[in-house]
Structure formats: C-alpha cells, structure tokens
Symmetry: C2
Amino acid sequence: MISSNNLFKRKYGVTVQQQINRQILLVKRPIGIPDESCFKLITSAISQPTHGQVLLRTRFLSVDPYMRGRMNDRRSYVPPFQLNEVLNGGIVGEIVESNSNNFAKGDFVVGNLGWQDYSIAGEKEVRKINSEIAPVSTALGVLGMPGLTAYFGLLDIGKPKQGETVIVSGAAGAVGTIVGQIAKIHGCRVVGIAGSDKKTKYLIDELGFNIAINYKTVPHLRKALKEACPDGVDIYFDNVGGDISDAVISLINKYARIPLCGQISLYNEEQISMGPRLQPRLLTFSAIMQGFIVHNYENRFDEGIQQLAKWLTDKKLKYAENVVEGLENAPGAFIGLFAGENLGKQLVKVA
Amino acid sequence: MISSNNLFKRKYGVTVQQQINRQILLVKRPIGIPDESCFKLITSAISQPTHGQVLLRTRFLSVDPYMRGRMNDRRSYVPPFQLNEVLNGGIVGEIVESNSNNFAKGDFVVGNLGWQDYSIAGEKEVRKINSEIAPVSTALGVLGMPGLTAYFGLLDIGKPKQGETVIVSGAAGAVGTIVGQIAKIHGCRVVGIAGSDKKTKYLIDELGFNIAINYKTVPHLRKALKEACPDGVDIYFDNVGGDISDAVISLINKYARIPLCGQISLYNEEQISMGPRLQPRLLTFSAIMQGFIVHNYENRFDEGIQQLAKWLTDKKLKYAENVVEGLENAPGAFIGLFAGENLGKQLVKVA
C-alpha cells in the first residue's frame, strides 16, 4: 500500500490522508426512519482510469429524499441500493486524471456516482459544468435535478396560467423553492407550506411567495390554507403527501392539476398509509393528478437547464443551499432530510 | 279539470289517463342507499308551449348513477336536486306540439328534462334525434351521454395504443360496455370487471372482451386481475372506485392512465371513505389519474356522436339496454343501479 500511496502522491500532489478512498456503504436496510447504523464508512484503494475514463475527486454530493425508497428492497422507478455496496447519487467532482478527449484535468463535472472521495467514470457518465454561470454546487440544485424537477413538473404538468393559485408543499426544499419562484415568474399567486418559521420567512421575504404557512405550528392547516387561497387552488405541487396533501386537495378548483413530485411524509412508513379516498374529489373537479420523475424529461434537459440558467443570470431565480462538511457526515445529512432540517438544497461538501 | 282534459284529448287524441301529467319528485334526501320513500309521484296539469317552445311527451328517461350525488345537498359539478321538485335527467321525447320553427310534431328529441309524462322545453334545450341510424332510445345510451363519456374518457384521457392492456370496472354498464369495445377497436387487450356471471359472459361472448371477472364471486380479485394482465395495466377506466380500484391500481405500469368516470361504490357512503394512499404508486409509475365529466367535451359532442354512429352502422359497436316500463317505476330503476341490476344502459320506458 505504501508504494501505491506514494505513487498517488507523486502523481496528484495530494496528502497521504487524501490518497485513501473513503466510501460509504449501505450495510442495513432501514426500518422506518434510517439511522447511522445503516451506513458504514470504509476505505479502499483508488483505481486508475482506463481508456475513455476519468478519475474525479468528489467536491459535493447530493442527498435526496427519493434515496430512501432505494434503501428498501422493492421494485420502484430506480433499482434498490445493494447491501454492502457504495451508495450513489448526484456528485459534483473535479477531474484529477483524464483518459478521455472530452475532459481535462481541472474540469468540473456532474454525474450519478458513488458516495466516496474518488470515482472512476466513463466519459458518458458525467457532464461538464459551466462554472461561469454559477458555483459548481448548483449542478446538484437549481441547475441540476431539483431545478429540472421543478421546471418540468410545474410547467409540463402544472401548466400555470397568469392569476392562478399555486400551493407548494415542501416549499423550502430544493425543489419547492424553485417551483414557487417559477410560478411567480408565470404570474401566479403562490402559497408555500414548510416546517419552520425560518423557512416561511425566507419564502416570503427572499423568494416572494405570497403566503407561507408553518404546518407544524398553524392551529388548523386546512382553515389557514382556505384563507390563504380565497379563489381556491389551481395547482398543487406535492412534495410531501399525507395529511398536508389531504388538506390541500380538499380545496382544489375545477380543472386543478396536481403534479406528484415527492411523498416524503410517507417514505419511512412500513405499512401502506391509509387516507381519505381522493377519486371522488378528482372526479367532481375534473382534476388531474400525475406522478413524474425528472428522468421522464431527459430529452429536454438542455432546454430546462438553459431556461433555469437564464432566470438565474437575470436574477429572477434565487437558490439556497444547506451545506454539511465532510463525507463522513453524508448519512447524517441524509437522515436530516426527514426532520426537515434543510432550507434549500441539502449538500455535503466532500473536499 | 274535465273541460281541459277534454280539450287536451281533442288536440292530441290521447286517452284521459294520459292527459294527466304525472311527475316524480324528490321528497327526502337519501341517507345511504336511496329507497322508495325518497320519491313521490304526483299529478299536475299539462302546460302549453309558448313562442319558441315545444311540448313533448316522454318516451324514455335515463337513470344514471351520477344522480345520486345530486340528491345530496352538497356542492358538486351539477347543482343538487331541490326537495319537492321534479327530478330531471336525460329524456327522449316525441314532440306533440311545437311553437318553434326548428321542430315539428312527431320529431323525436333528447334533452335534460323532468321525470314526467309531458315537458315543455325551449328550442335550445332539446336536440333532434336521427331515428334512421338507431332506435331513439340510443340517444340516452350509446349515441348519448354514456357513449360520449366512454368515447372522450377513453380516447382523450386514456389514449389507448395498440397492444396495451385496458381494465374497465363497471364493465357491463352503459359506459363500461362502450369503453371496452372502443378499446378493442384500438387494438387493446380488454379486461372487464362486473358483478354477475351473466354480465361477464355477455362481455366476452357478445362484446369481445378478452377476459371478464365477476368481482362478487372471484376468490381473490387482485390475483385474478394479475393473471388476466400478464403485461400489467396501461389504462384503468374507473367507474366504481373503492376496493376494486385499489386492486387494479396496484397493477399499473409506467405511464398508466386512469380516467375517473364514476365512483359508484362510494356514492351512498355518508362518511368520506378511507383507502390506501395512491400517490406513492402514481408517483413511482409516472401515472396520470384524471377526473372528468362528459360536459367538459361539449364542444366536441358532434365529433363523438358521428364516430359512435359510424361504428354502430359498421357493426363495430353493440349496445345493450335494460328497460323498465312505466314512469312510476323510475325510482326503482334508479335504486337498482346500486345493486348492479342493469346490463347496459338502464332506461325507463314512459310511453
């Protein structure tokens, strides 16, 4: 090991500590809310990129609610994580060695890669980031999957029209913050539901939401929503599911659209959750409820990124990041999602 | 009264008995399943049509599940029936006197009118029926609202594609029978769910459904549906809601479409019915659930009627009617809908 470490040191000029590739494994499938015992940090050697591959050093990794579903051994839209293997998700990395003509040392890239210090990636597995538009971390947030999720879910399914009322749940999260702002850009009245006064204040003061409601402290959510939406609800962008969604859906207008983006309130349930049947209301109000994942729109990602970047440079869009330092803290950051700790995009800064 | 009866007799050549206008009122809002005590038959005089109006004699009246909702004093897509007023719905009538240039005595028309022997209608309230295509009763079934409901719900929301699997609940009803046949015309595999062996036999033998399941006798509905749909479910045309829908929705494929047409299993519930939350499944499978009522497509009714009539004359579409005789039996025919007594369109022959 010493000799390979030294080789590594000579090649990349990094310290001995950094030569070790730390990796985070899923070692136990969570029951209910995950805890630290589900994860294990190990170390391994760093591989070398072969032809067409790059070696990259992880700068940021993304923790996302949907990953909870992958921790179950259950059929879903992405295959489950395998036990005792490295977790994976959105990663921003800097290329430290390239055997590809498409990438050079120092390039920043984004891709779906392991929770580890160093990754080998094929040249088609990563996409170069234009770091002149915004900090590279935004490739995991407003200019990445969460931004695209907000963009396609709201515009393609929600179809906002001037003057309509939009409710967003999980409004202070990575997706919700962008949904609300895009709805404002389209001339809608926007009501956000979030879990702390700090968040609701941010939504109103910084992002221009018309109203934001702290569902944890409001005495009667449905009543508060009804007051907040005197003209009813035309679009409900749902990130959370459960009781909050029941309250919103009881207020929909004719031809309402309900993009289903996430159901974070249910991800840790072991049983199928029961609730009031929705079909009678959807029927009566000729409403649409549509599930989606951002990958359905893969062939339109360029359009989405370009528009989001334009709004960003035009100062029509703001973003928030909640950054935890250290790969070893990635499990904690992930677990924190379910306590609603993050305002904006939850990231882990790895190096 | 004698003199006006005699006048009536002279004018229209009908018997004394028929001169009386019998009317059926809603006199009590039902709790749960309606019974006969909610209805009352009264008699009244026959009015005279003024300028632009017609007097018509009811030939057929339509009883439909959606009417149950109107019997509650509750906001919905149509206003509630008023107590002690004449019930109304789809009527086929023959014009016995016309003060409109658009209609002549002997014309058959369809419109939304009262449950009574004779009605006065404005010339825009009724539409002339072409009795050469099919018997006039079809204006309340395959060439009327149920046919149009099937047509727009399946084609506009369901968007059937060759080779896809379509499940229809309430399959032997006025809408379900047409949905299944239109799906067959579009090259789909069609599975019907109905409530008697007579119905399932009819669906397979007469209408060409691939499989039909009697939900009342099948030991395990979900298992039977799974076997019936080896490639999963692409479209679920839902007329019934409740447990049957839960079973179907657990089998949907990615990008499934679920037109919500009716929820007959829930119409008599006094409490909001509880069931497994659907959003996680709709989300995972990027599925669409969309409520609709046929009136949303009003500006395309001509297209729908023309196409349905063409399929009918081309023998691609069959229809069934379940006819009860006598206005006084309309309440019973309506109540029978909830026991699933009807195969095809439930009609009441009034004269």
